[in-house]
Symmetry: C4
Subunit: 191 residues, 4 copies
């Protein structure tokens, strides 16, 4: 089976998620500068989730570059990833409306954790299809970033109940780790 | 006529449907854990419909793999399928807001039934274009799952007026039947 | 310039328009059958607009099959068509909320008229790029349906001020004329 | 890395932005012509933003025609552009609800300015990948329009605090400058 439609469908879903989040940013009734201030936490939540979805899209793009074929199991591992990503607008809106409140911040981390686990499962499904000697396996290497992200999310969720500011700081840290694009695949493919 | 744009358009519509459903999941005003509880039926409806749309996308993807060309009749059979799929967010929202109420559960089943019939018509239109000796015909075989789904939906709609829990259980059963990916086409294409 | 992205962008816009219209179909609060009845005009407006957008997508698909290349003028003629199509959810919602009221029905016809004119301009832009001896010109022929639609829309808009039922009947007539797929292009390409 | 998915993803995001803006155009409750009049500024804001997004899509399409490959840096420069474009529905809605009010008009210009800067950064990232001797560099030339737009936006933002009508006039001027499609790339590619 060709990977074209799985790419197109994932692009579609992520493109829609990244844009419907902006609908939460309701224009204020008043036409003054101070009327914008209460929107700041909503805007920051939006920007953070935009970056996370951008990271997933970029990594998905890199990952699929090294993929030759897909099967039914891969399609469902991908849909599973898209399910947790599809909840990002919901957790973003809740966190934006209740800035730095414990439960919304923890739920945000939980959704991110489940998306990270789903991405890991997708990578496993692709590896089992392509084999440990494939370009894909070489390109992925030890996946240190992926493992570190899961650990940081777990710490952040626990810390949300102590200090939600700290948890948010950890989310920003994960985003920063990933913003450096995943050059492993680019390098391995170039060789 | 090439099938490329019909695939792209269907991917687009299903990707949008799968993501706008999440807009029904309104973040609660309060930032507490109990505030999330009333959202549980809405979330479960969403998850069920996400899976159904994922099944349609996955089967559509498998089906089109074995297709060589399309014509005007196939385009409209496909748009007809997309019409009933496009009502899934509506029936999902109604069922989510009125968990296990008779009419919403029955209407959900009716929409699923009409989508299943539309998929059947699409398959017929493709078969009449490709012939009974085509790879497509071999790949589809007797379509036992498709026929079983229609029967189960009919039973579920009738049962909704006796016990809507039972009807919902039957919807989950149909989803479970289809979650096993349609390997017929994969196998026939591989041969 | 290749036509690929113009097709993809148009598919995207039409796919989104066809699906966001369904957001107007708000689930009723009550979980009873009679609660659905007031939604009937909204549903019928939705179904009519779904068919019109389906016709535009199908014709656009047929038209682009015979197209070899595009230029900046064609891109803007296409965006101009998408602009009037993008207002369909608005006029559909207004007509659905005020069934058979004069102004909504007339505005619906006006938007349809402007979309038909925009489609005509797009066809002209493509013809001036491909020449009167091209496959495209042969495939399009005299465009009787296109001209008839414009006349029927004009009559329908005028009649909306006498009887909006009659105007709606004419819209259904235009849809029926076009539902028969545009075999001119299929036939000419096959030759 | 191939540019296909970056094109598809950008098409998707811009297609969604262009269509969700129309959701701000709420159908009035009354079915009369005067009920439409208050919507005029919202409609004009929508039309202006539709044209701006159409310009970005058209220019993006032209730009990518001359591009051979992309890397991680280009993907993020593109996501950065999409971020500022994704705020257009928000600033459009605020300006439409408060026609010719100072702050909404200024914020609209600021978002346009940041999008223009992001487009400039994307062009730089592509040039540094393709080299100053590439077709891309030849096709882009001195980018007079891009530089002029940035200057006009800066003037318009400042002028919004004197006369917001004048600022809006300048936005229309920028749109008019760009509506003439960017023939540099078409010409250079044709050679």
């Amino acid at each position: 089976m060709s990977k074209g439609r799985m790419e197109a469908f994932s692009d579609g879903v992520i493109a829609i998620l990244i844009t419907i989040m902006v609908l939460e940013l309701r224009p204020p009734r008043e036409a003054s500068l101070p009327a914008l201030f209460p929107l700041l936490p909503v805007f920051l939540s939006y920007a953070l989730s935009f970056i996370f979805l951008g990271i997933y899209w970029s990594n998905h793009h890199h990952l699929l570059q090294a993929v030759k074929q897909v099967d039914g199991r891969v399609l469902w591992a991908n849909l599973h990833l898209l399910f947790w990503l599809s909840l990002i607008p919901f957790v973003t809106a809740w966190m934006g409306q209740n800035p730095f409140a414990t439960w919304p911040v923890a739920l945000y981390g939980l959704d991110m954790l489940l998306a990270a686990v789903a991405y890991f499962i997708l990578v496993r499904a692709l590896l089992s299809l392509h084999g440990q000697q494939s370009i894909l396996a070489a390109a992925l290497g030890s996946d240190l970033k992926g493992k570190a992200s899961v650990v940081i999310y777990l710490v952040a969720i626990a810390l949300a109940f102590v200090s939600s500011w700290f948890a948010c700081g950890l989310y920003v840290l994960v985003a920063a780790i990933w913003l450096v694009p995943d050059r492993r695949i680019e390098k391995t493919l170039a060789r």
